[in-house]
Structures are given as C-alpha cells and as structure tokens.
C-alpha cells in the first residue's frame, strides 16, 4: 500500500520554479525595466530636468539626435572603443585563465592581485589612473624622462611629457588600455570557471592519445568553453558600451571629441545641459544595437552548447 501525502504547493515544479525566479525578475523589473521604460517615455517627450511632465513629441528627439554630427561621431567612437577593447580582453582573459588554472607556487596570491582592478570601485580606480596619466606630473613620464626616453635627445619625444590625456592618439589608447585593465579580470574569472568545468576524462583521453598543449587548447578546450566565452564577451561588451565613468574621470570626452562615448554624451546633454529628452534619446540609440548583439551572441553560445 503506498502512502499518499496531501497536496502541497511546493510539489508543483512550476510553482517552485516561479518562486525561485521571482527575486531575479523583480530585481530586473525594478532596476533595469522601470528605468528603461522611463527612458523610452522621456525619449518620446519634451521633458527637461526641471519639468518631467510627459508631452508626446513623436520621433522629434531621435531625428534631432541623428542629425547631430557630434552624436554620430560619439556613436562611432563608442563602437570602435568597445570592439577594440574586446579583442584585447578576450586575448588576455584566455591567456590568464589558462595560467591561473595551472598549479604553481603563489597562485592564490597572484589571483588575488589580478582580481583587484575589477573589485576596486571604478571611480577610485580611475582617480588612480588620472594621476598616473596626468598631463604634467605622470609618474610614467617621470620614469621615461629619467631613462632618457623623454626630454632633450629623447627617443619618444623632446618634451618632458607625452601628454597622455591631451594627445588625441594617446588619449584614445589610454582609455582603451584602462578599459581592458578593468574588464579583463571579470572575463578571466568567467573563462576560468569554464575551463574548470571541462570533464577531466576528456583531457585525460587527449593526453593518452598524445595530444600536446596547443592541440588540446585549440581543438578541445576552446571549443568546449566557447559558450562561456561568448557570455564573458557579452558581459564585457554591454558593460563597456554603457560605461561613462572611465572617460568622465579621465578625459571628459576630450581632447575635442576623441574619447566622448555615448553614456557621457547622454549625461552631458540630458543632465548637465538640462535637455533630458534628448539625453534619453541618445542613450536609447544603443539599445537596438545591444539587443541585436545579445541575441546573436546568445544564439551562437546556444548552438555551440548543443554541438
């Protein structure tokens, strides 16, 4: 005779699933969904920082933003910075993930040091970089000056400074470098998790079959962690695309508009300039691109997983 227990709501997998999902959904709705919907409402209205009454103006703000030559340059800069950074982030993250999954003395300390750029509050880290890259008192310039690379007869420049954040080329390189420095640890940690999850029997079999390091890496490990790599890339790209802190602290978009990115321009127009409607419209231009990118990358990850 089997014992029949009374019906209990938690026996229903749908109920339990919904309950487990609820906190995450609530978080997304409140922290992401509501501001996103508000931005859409603002983008189609004529709100200012002083008056958030929603008067519908159709696509006027989006048309005005698209006609703005500065915006088009800012949009292009944002995409360029994001793509270039991702190449370096992926490269460094893969190398570091492989190193940190090996056994060596001081591994835990090395991991701890390495994670710091990501764990440090971004604004504090950027103030540190602001000092490092100061146009006049940069310690990097000081070292180059002392070693003869700068100053009269210097190989890099006859000046005493390289003007890291004042030269168009160096300012762009600096911003990309700092973004790579900041985002690489996150991508590395995600890839390390991926590498650790590869079943050891597969790797053992490869070793028995005589596969060497590069062969194992390229033909076994990387294909297996591809879905995770795509997720790491997606995280990194979305974070960078919407970030304004790095350039706000380092360059405020200068010199000229060379480092002005979408988030910063949206803030300058919407909050500092008071034109909240156009500021919202500027930020929304990123949405279709990010959405398409996310769908493409998640489908890629999903296909790779199925294989």
């Amino acid at each position: 005779m089997s014992l029949r227990l009374p019906a209990f709501p938690f026996d229903n997998r749908r109920v339990v699933g919904a309950l487990f999902l609820a906190p995450a959904l609530l978080y997304i709705l409140l922290i992401v969904g509501f501001p996103f919907l508000l931005a859409i409402a603002f983008g189609f209205s004529d709100v200012t920082v002083g008056n958030t009454d929603l008067n519908f103006v159709g696509f006027r703000n989006f048309e005005a933003v698209w006609d703005n030559a500065i915006f088009r340059q800012v949009f292009e800069t944002t995409i360029r910075f994001t793509l270039i950074s991702q190449v370096f982030i992926l490269l460094f993250a893969n190398i570091l993930a492989i190193i940190f999954t090996q056994d060596f003395t001081g591994k835990w300390f090395a991991r701890f040091i390495f994670i710091l750029p990501w764990a440090t509050p971004v604004s504090l880290a950027m103030i540190g970089w602001l000092w490092m890259l100061d146009t006049k008192y940069s310690p990097i310039d000081y070292l180059l000056l002392q070693t003869g690379f700068l100053g009269p007869g210097g190989i890099l420049s006859k000046d005493r400074n390289l003007f890291w954040l004042a030269s168009p080329d160096l300012a762009q390189i600096s911003v990309i470098f700092v973004q790579v420095w900041r985002m690489t640890p996150l991508a590395t940690v995600i890839l390390m998790a991926g590498l650790s999850s590869i079943p050891t029997d597969i790797l053992d079999q490869a070793e028995v079959d005589g596969s060497r390091f590069m062969r194992t890496l390229l033909l076994i490990k990387l294909p297996l962690i591809l879905p995770i790599m795509v997720i790491a890339l997606l995280f990194s790209m979305i974070t960078m695309f919407g970030d304004m802190t790095v350039v706000y602290v380092l360059t405020r978009g200068g010199p000229v508009d060379y480092t002005r990115v979408l988030g910063l321009y949206s803030f300058q127009v919407g909050i500092e300039g008071g034109n909240l409607a156009q500021g919202a419209a500027i930020s929304l231009f990123a949405f279709p691109l990010l959405l398409a990118m996310a769908i493409f990358m998640l489908r890629t990850a999903s296909r790779a997983e199925v294989r």
């Binding site: 920082v49 006609d67 000046d159 978009g253 508009d257 300058q268 008071g274």
Partner: protein, 446 residues
C-alpha cells in the same frame, strides 16, 4: 545706509510682498531648512559658512543643515531632487540653472526685496537668475567671481611687459617670447572643462564674436569669431604646449603653484593656494583685467553663487529659506572677507569695505594692493549669454563644450577655423531650435 536700516527695509518689503517671514523667527516649531552647496574653492569660506548657518538657525528658531559636495555633482543632485520631489531646501549652483526653471520657485519677491534694500546689482548677476521670455526669476544670485589674468611678474618683466599683458597681441608676443626663452608656456585651456569654456569665450567676445546676439539669435559664424579662433590656435601653436588639450579645472592651480606657466585666466583661488605654500612665489604673481581685443575687453565671471529653491519646498520651510537668503546677502561683508575676496557681491552696496580691501588685501598679499585691478571688474566681466541673456540653450552649449572643442580642432590642425566655426554654429542652431520649441528661448526670426 547702515545695516539696521537696510534690514528694516528688507523686512518691510517682504511683509508687503507677503513673503511671510519674520526676523524673530515665527516659524512653526520644528521648521528645518537644508542647504546643498559646492565645496568652496577657498576652504576658509565653508568653515565660516557652517558656523554662520548654525547661528542663523538658532537665532531664528530654525534647524539648519549644510551639505557640501564637489562642484561637479551639484547639477546632477539638483536634477535628481527635483525629479524625486524631495531634497534640499536651498541649492547653490555655479552657473545659470535656466534649464531647471520649471522645477524651481519664482524668486521675484526676494530679488525685488534685495534690490529695494541694496540698490542696483551687477548685470552679470541679474543675467544669471532671470529669464526674460518667461519674465521669471528662477534663482537668486548673491555673488560672482572675477576671472582676471594671473601672470608671472618676473617673466613678463624680462619680456618687456612689467605690468603683464594688456591685450591679446601682448599675450601672443610676450607669451611666445617667454616660451622660446624659458620653455614656460601660457596656460589657456582648450579642453572640455570649465576654465577652457570661459577663457575661449573671453577671446571670442573680445574679438567681436559671440554665440548669440541680444535677441537670442545664433550668430557664432562670423568673421570675428573666425579671427578669434585663428588667434587662439596661433597662441597654442606658438606659446603653449599640448597640455592645454587635456586641461582640467585643477590645471590652472597646479601650473601656477609649480611655477610652470607664465599666464593663466583664473579666479584668485590659485593665487591664494600659492600664498599659503610660498609667500615669495605668490608675491611674484600679478593680476591683469580682461585682455583687450579688436572689439574690447571682456571676460566671463569665473563662476557665480546662485541660490535656487526647488518647487517641492513649501510653507514655513520656504519662508525660512527666503529669509536665510536675504540675511546672507545682508552679511555679505563677512562672505567676501571669509572667502578671501573670492566672492564678489552682486549688490556692491552690501560690501562697503571692498575697495579698501582691494587697495590693501586683508589676507596679507604683497604688495598689499595686488587686487586693486579688480576695482574695474564690472567694466569687463560679463555672463555666459553675453550680449543676450543666459537661457537654457546657452547652458546646453556650455555643457557640451562646443566652444573649446571648436578651438582645439583648429589648434590641432584638423579643421580650418572657418569649417570649425561653421560646424559649431550648426550644432548650436540645433540646440537653440530645440529650446525655442519649448518656449524657453527667444529669437529665431533671422
């Protein structure tokens, strides 16, 4: 007119206007006001102000809280508080908050009360708090900050200009000679930040150009503006380093204190910092009024001290806030003194000692009359919207750093002055058209 009589007049006018305030502090028990101010560039002022505000609160039976934040955070905080409908009672901003007008109380009553008590105020203060198209006083400007030239006396004396440069031609000739002889450059920013925005506008005005005309029509694209931009590019190429493309709000101060610049445009805060570090070096710094160009000598005020009261403030809190603001103006001698002559009064009559202090600096400058040149400040100091009004479009043009970016592009050799000015004009037209559609900017009939 002594202070007691002026106070009586203010109170009478306020009573007549129904502002509903009372010097004895007849506010409901528990009335509190809170102030959000930018951390003053002269720290002594904040020390004095916090004590003053607390004593005012005790005398009037009002709880007073003062919060100081970095100046870069003021506008974003004000925007958030207006949107939330809750926050500080009084917020002090540095530039005209014209685009916030719908979220702010009309302060016509206290502006008129102060004018009646203290007489005419300087035009730059009026322009930073009044929007003619709406006939609204969206703010109360109590002070402004002169933006003279600071020059290295020894260097400029060697170059043949013992009293510093007086014209833009002097600045180019003398600055270039000093740079070639010593490697010490002129320091006028050309980057997206506050000091660059001011300095570049000063040159454009002095060459006869401007962003808008008196009727709020965009007129940037002119021969005069092109000439000013060409001049600034030449100045950068011949007398400055590339550092100016990465100039920050602290660069003036750093360069002056380090003795690595021959001339800057700045308030007196950079000099005051140097004075506390090295008195001899400070004695070698002189001040000049706005440099003269082909069309005159103009410089923007460095910043303004502008009080606003968001609309969410009501009742006794609002009445107490208005009284606080008027009493603060009443005590402007203390304000100017404790700011080490940084804050200049919008109502000159409130600081009768000012000319005497400029002739003999109470904070120990050598020579004592170092600031005497600032006696003429009201002849050459203008506001951001000059020669029109400071409207929301002017504020957005300022926030987007369109002017310094335009200048930098030419100095970097990326665009001709004609093309850069035309492109900037086009963007500014777009901004003006947008605000005009909201009914907050006039003109547009050209």
């Amino acid at each position: 007119m002594n202070r007691a009589i002026r106070l009586l007049i203010v109170l009478s006018i306020l009573a007549a206007l129904g502002v509903g305030v009372n010097a004895q502090g007849d506010y409901a028990e528990g009335t509190e006001i809170s102030l959000l101010q930018w951390s003053h560039f002269v720290p002594r002022y904040d020390e004095w102000f916090d004590v003053y505000a607390a004593e005012w609160g005790e005398a009037n039976g009002v709880g007073v809280t003062v919060d100081h934040v970095n100046f870069t955070e003021i506008f974003s905080t004000l925007a958030a508080e207006i949107d939330a409908g809750d926050g500080h009672t009084i917020v002090e901003v540095l530039f005209s908050p014209a685009s916030y007008i719908d979220g702010l109380h009309d302060l016509r009553d206290i502006n008129e009360a102060a004018a009646a008590a203290h007489g005419e105020r300087t035009s730059t203060c009026h322009a930073a708090s009044y929007l003619p198209i709406n006939d609204t006083y969206y703010a109360y400007t109590h002070g402004y900050v002169p933006d003279p030239g600071d020059y290295d006396i020894a260097l400029w004396t060697d170059a043949g200009y013992p009293e510093g440069p007086k014209t833009y031609d002097d600045l180019l000739e003398g600055g270039r000679a000093i740079y070639e002889a010593t490697g010490i450059p002129v320091g006028i920013g050309m980057s997206p930040e506050l000091d660059s925005r001011m300095a570049n506008r000063a040159a454009i005005w002095s060459f006869g150009g401007s962003i808008q005309d008196e009727a709020e029509n965009v007129v940037l694209n002119s021969e005069e503006t092109v000439a000013a931009v060409k001049y600034l590019a030449q100045l950068q190429n011949e007398a400055m380093t590339d550092e100016v493309f990465g100039w920050t709000a602290a660069s003036n101060n750093q360069a002056l204190i380090a003795g690595e610049v021959s001339y800057i445009l700045n308030s007196n805060s950079a000099y005051r910092s140097l004075q506390k570090i090295d008195e001899a070096a400070a004695a070698n710094i002189g001040f000049t009024p706005a440099l003269a160009g082909p069309a005159g000598a103009y410089a923007s005020s460095h910043v303004w001290q502008i009080y606003v009261i968001p609309k969410y403030v009501e009742g006794d809190e609002l009445a107490a806030a208005k009284q606080f603001i008027l009493d603060h103006t009443e005590n402007y001698s203390d304000v100017t003194y404790h700011s080490e002559l940084y804050n200049f009064p919008c109502y000159p009559s409130t600081v009768a000692e000012l000319d005497g202090w400029l002739e003999e600096d109470p904070w120990g400058s050598q020579p004592p009359n170092k600031f005497e040149v600032l006696k003429t400040v009201n002849d050459w100091s203008v506001h951001l919207g000059f020669p029109g009004v400071t409207n929301p479009a002017v504020s957005q043009v300022f926030a987007e750093s369109i002017i310094p970016n335009m200048v930098a592009q030419v100095a970097l050799g990326e665009q001709t002055a004609e093309d850069a000015v035309a492109a900037a004009h086009e963007r500014i037209e777009e901004i003006f058209a947008d605000w005009r559609a909201r009914g907050m900017v006039g003109g547009g009939d050209m």
